[in-house]
């Protein structure tokens, strides 16, 4: 039986680093990432899974971390926005978001980038429809989605080695 007030041990990796944490049953993955690990790049816009700002990649799938119980992350491999760029610099999605100004206020940006990265990790050559589907659960109040869609499609081409 899971008790709300009791703490349970979970092990998971975030951006390649191994963590062991004790979490309560009601605690969300977003809260553990932001409060416990200080990874505030993951944003929380609604705390109910409605807006997608908190999207991270868990075991290869885009998930809304504000409604994932931290207990469910036991044994999981998690990637957050902080782990997307590597020593060679920005990931092509990030690069295109910056260059095409798909970043406006930037609050939904980490979620959009994680949702689209999960897509491109799986499908290197998505159609525009597939891109729209992948970010269909992410609300952006600034861009009208035009530039994010263009940035994701352009990043896909770059990842495929197409000369742009």
């Amino acid at each position: 039986m899971i008790l709300m007030s009791q703490k349970y041990k979970v092990n998971f990796t975030v951006n390649g680093d191994q963590y062991e944490r004790y979490v309560e049953a009601g605690e969300t993955l977003a809260s553990v990432l932001r409060v416990e690990l200080g990874l505030t790049g993951t944003k929380v816009g609604c705390d109910r899974g409605d807006c997608g700002a908190c999207t991270v990649i868990m075991n290869g799938k885009a998930v809304k971390s504000c409604i994932i119980p931290a207990l469910k992350a036991d044994g999981a491999e998690i990637q957050t926005i902080e782990g997307v760029a590597d020593e060679n610099g920005l990931h092509p999605i990030q690069q295109e978001f910056v260059e095409l100004a798909a970043v406006q206020c930037g609050y939904c940006t980490p979620g959009l980038i994680m949702a689209s990265k999960a897509l491109l990790d799986e499908n290197k050559n998505p159609t525009e429809e597939e891109v729209r589907e992948a970010i269909g659960g992410n609300i952006c109040r600034c861009t009208g989605y035009e530039k994010p869609v263009q940035a994701i499609l352009k990043a896909a081409k770059k990842l495929n080695g197409e000369c742009l």
Binding site: R34, G38, L39, T40, G41, T42, K43, V44, G45, C46, D47, R48, D50, C51, A53, T80, I81, E82, V84, A85, L90, Q94, F97, V98, E99, L100, A101, V103, Q104, C105, G106, Y107, C108, T109, P110, I113, E128, R132, E133, I135, G136, G137, N138, I139, C140, R141, C142, T143, G144, Y145, E146, K147, P148, V149, Q150
Partner: protein, 798 residues
């Protein structure tokens, strides 16, 4: 596209903070953490209108981790305002930090500060409150009824008590010209009533604040604010402490769209708790609390317009009933603005506005992209379309013949803010938009799929404007519009800008960096913009009214010109020539036509600073003397499913007249973003409150829908038109853009729906249900007509 004579302006440049945002490194207010930080939670009223008869916090204090609990008994007895846009004399003071008399579901009853958020939430449950429930008025109509309960017993306008008659906090009645004569002379008069909805700003970042006590007894305030000086004035007033006791930090903002022109109470409450406890106090609203604390004012706009038979507008009277919610966050200004903006849409000699602003038992409403202007556009641009049809004039032509022209007088914020139009791209926008949407081919071609005749297409348009700031030729007694900037050169050749304008996400600070680079001749990446704080940045009004570039950009240009002059003089000394003989380009100084013999700007700064020639720095201060309209024309093509009432925007043209383009990326971002928000206003966005109890019905993103990527036209089907104009009063010719791009979208969609199915919905939003009902009504009439005709024919035959 305009011809570009600039080195930096007009290009696509990365925003200065874009990389930090795309990597998750940028700290927004809610991401900040301080040692010993407490978490604040607010106990909110479950009733729309009630008096707190008794309140017992003793059990709450016993919760582990609770440090402080406060109620109305503990807060300063200072009637307070929420904004600092307007001059103090016209602002409304009508609230306390916490209330005994609560006026909407979600109003502030008590506040807790605890070591964890969970403890604070737990403590809220332990506070015992006894309410005396009062009758509530949820709509403006209900609040205006003679027997409606009085929502406020006291309010001040400036330092003068407001005589509250019922729930009306202010009225207006202004006439210009002779309206009666205008209507008497008119060949055609149209009168319509339009209603608008109550969308929520819905910015992704929730209101957040952290107040951190300092060793010197002062308080650092980090908050989601559109104006650090305005916030300082608001907190200082409501707490009764000197402004200098507060240092408000500029933060990047995750949206706002006007919601953070105002303080949203938690800022002031957390500041108060931080001073009481001596510990940092953090507050962040939940999404539900966001829905209970801001939004666009719903209006009832009655428009009466008189035209000659050739379509010349002779008289216009707009009457506005403004629902301001439970507190006058915006004062009565939205009433005056909506009414006033209707006067600025077209040239008309005889004008009258009347209006009333009304308190209701609903959450306090704020500015939201357009400050009363989307409501004005909704009324006027629907009316113009109906008038055009009645007069038998092409709707674009009717608009064109009544346009305000360069040299015409223009009311920027209603009749109190008068400016003269000096640039206009209206003709370009109308001509190009008409062509790009395929107006002539599509206006009479409604069946795109012959096998699906129930799907009908239509095209429509609407045009309009928003002001760029609130500057008037003479200083006005209505709104503060003044900006400053300090610019200094560093010894490595970089320039550092210190100002107080807010970046709401549109790239305002990057635009300021572009202006500095362009004026001095520096590389864009050699300009640093300090986030800074109210301790170090000179005064600026809040960033609203599309003034971030136009208004706050003017002192940036002025300071850059002054710094450039210093650099030229120093370089001239080094070159042993006159300052008129040298120029600066790409951060290098050289004599005209001798770019190869350059001195890096860094060397010039070092030489000047180390030789005691002075400091390459300047502080500039500008009161803009105009508020030029940035004109907009929106064309859309819609597809209406007459079986379901569903509307899809399939093609769109957004056209803007924004003067000089500073950063093309950002201009395009505003255009498509504005279209998106306007489409939401047109079709789905509204916050719903139970008409009896005032309970919110859709206070979440699951209930209040924001259009997703799937609702938008294909990127290839959105055309962007940027007029080639130069605004003589603007910073390097620039005007605003942020609000105008939304204002005409809803009526453009309405006019396209009418073109598609012959149905007009006068109250926003044009939901599927409303549209379907109206389509069925029309079809029934058509059936009746067909039946009658059939009967007549049969009777004749008999």
């Amino acid at each position: 596209m305009p011809v570009n004579k600039y080195d930096v302006l007009g290009k696509r440049l990365d925003k200065i903070e874009a990389r930090q945002k795309a990597t998750g490194k940028l700290k927004f207010t809610g991401d900040l953490k301080f040692p010993g930080m407490l978490h604040c939670k607010i106990l909110r009223s479950p009733h729309a209108h009630a008096i707190v008869k008794s309140i017992d916090t003793s059990e709450a204090f016993k919760v582990d981790g609770v440090v402080d609990v406060i109620t109305y008994e503990d807060v300063p007895k200072i009637l307070s305002m929420h904004q600092f846009l307007h001059v103090p004399e016209v602002m409304y003071y009508d609230s306390y930090l916490l209330e005994k008399h609560v006026r909407h579901v979600g109003d502030r009853v008590a506040a807790v500060a605890a070591t964890t958020e969970e403890a604070a939430k737990e403590a809220l449950k332990k506070i015992k409150v006894e309410y005396e429930i009062l009758p509530a008025a949820i709509t403006a109509e209900d609040a205006l009824k003679p027997d409606a309960a009085q929502i406020h017993e006291e309010a001040k306008r400036g330092d003068k008590p407001v005589e509250l008659k019922g729930n009306v906090l202010d009225t207006c009645d202004v006439t210009i010209g002779d309206v009666d004569k205008g209507f008497a002379d008119a060949d055609y008069v149209i009168e319509r009533t339009y209603r608008t909805s109550k969308p929520n700003n819905g910015q992704l970042e929730r209101t957040a604040v952290v107040c951190v006590p300092r060793d010197d007894g002062r308080l650092d305030v980090y908050a989601t604010s559109q104006g650090i000086h305005a916030m300082r004035m608001n907190i200082s007033h409501s707490l009764g402490i000197p402004a200098s006791k507060l240092n408000c930090h500029r933060m990047y903002l995750g949206g706002t769209f006007g919601a953070h022109i105002h303080t949203g109470f938690i800022e002031n409450i957390c500041a108060f708790l931080a001073l009481r406890t001596g510990r940092p106090v953090r507050g962040e609203k939940t999404r539900e609390e966001m829905f209970l604390s801001c939004g666009r004012h719903p209006m009832i706009v009655k428009v009466k317009a008189g035209f000659t038979k050739d379509g010349k507008l002779l008289a216009l009277h707009s009457d506005v009933t403004d629902d301001t919610g439970s507190y006058a966050f915006s004062g009565s200004s939205k009433m005056a603005l909506t009414a006033g903006f209707t006067l600025s849409m077209y040239k008309c000699p005889n004008l009258r506005i009347t209006g009333r602003s009304v308190y209701t038992n609903t959450p306090p409403l704020t500015a939201m992209r357009g400050a009363g202007n989307p409501q004005a556009h909704w009324a006027v641009e629907n009316m113009m379309e109906e008038a055009a049809e009645d007069l038998g004039i092409d709707p674009i032509e009717l608009r064109r013949m009544n346009l305000l022209q360069v040299g015409d007088r223009f009311f920027g914020q209603g009749p109190q803010v008068i400016s003269t139009i000096r640039s206009s791209g209206n003709d370009q926008l109308l001509e190009k938009g008409k062509k790009l949407i395929g107006w002539d081919e599509k206006r009479n071609n409604h069946i795109p799929y012959p096998d699906k005749p129930w799907i009908r297409r239509g095209v429509g348009m609407a045009r309009g404007f928003h002001t760029s700031g609130c500057g008037s030729e003479k200083p006005n007694a209505f709104i503060i519009d003044h900006s400053c900037a300090t610019l200094k050169m560093n010894e490595d050749g970089t320039a550092q800008l210190m100002n107080a304008a807010a970046d709401l996400g549109a790239g305002t600070l990057s635009a300021h960096a572009s202006l500095v680079a362009e004026v001095i001749g520096l590389k864009y990446e050699d300009v640093i913009v300090n986030l800074g704080d109210s301790d170090s940045a000179p005064f600026d009004g809040p960033t609203h009214a599309s003034r971030g570039l136009y208004g706050a950009g003017q002192p940036v240009v002025k300071a850059a010109e002054e710094v450039k002059q210093i650099l030229l003089e120093w370089a001239a000394r080094m070159f042993q020539c006159g300052p008129e003989d040298v120029e600066i380009k790409e951060s290098k100084v050289f004599k005209h036509n001798e770019p190869e013999n350059y001195i890096p700007v860094a060397d010039v700064v070092r030489k000047g600073h180390f030789s005691g020639w002075g400091a390459a720095a300047s502080t500039a201060s500008v009161r803009p003397k105009a508020c030029p309209p940035h004109f907009i024309a929106i064309f859309v093509e819609v597809e209406v499913n007459t079986l379901t009432g569903q509307v899809k925007v399939v093609n769109a043209v957004s056209g803007v007249d924004t003067g000089t383009v500073v950063n093309l990326n950002n201009v395009e971002g505003q255009m498509v973003g504005g279209l998106h928000m306007g489409m939401g206003y047109a079709l789905i966005e509204d916050t719903i409150f139970d008409r009896k109890t005032g309970e919110p019905k859709n206070a979440s993103f699951a209930g209040f829908h924001i259009l997703t990527v799937k609702d938008m036209p294909d990127p290839d089907n959105i055309d962007l038109v940027i007029a080639d104009t130069f605004e003589p009063t603007g910073p390097l010719g620039a005007k605003g853009i942020g609000e105008g791009v939304t204002n005409p979208v809803a009526p453009a969609v309405a006019n396209a729906i009418y073109n598609a199915v012959g149905v007009r919905i006068n109250d926003l939003p044009m939901t599927q249900e409303k549209l379907l009902a109206k389509i069925k009504e029309v079809e029934a009439k058509m059936d009746d007509l067909a039946m009658t005709q059939k009967n007549v024919k049969e009777t004749v035959r008999e």
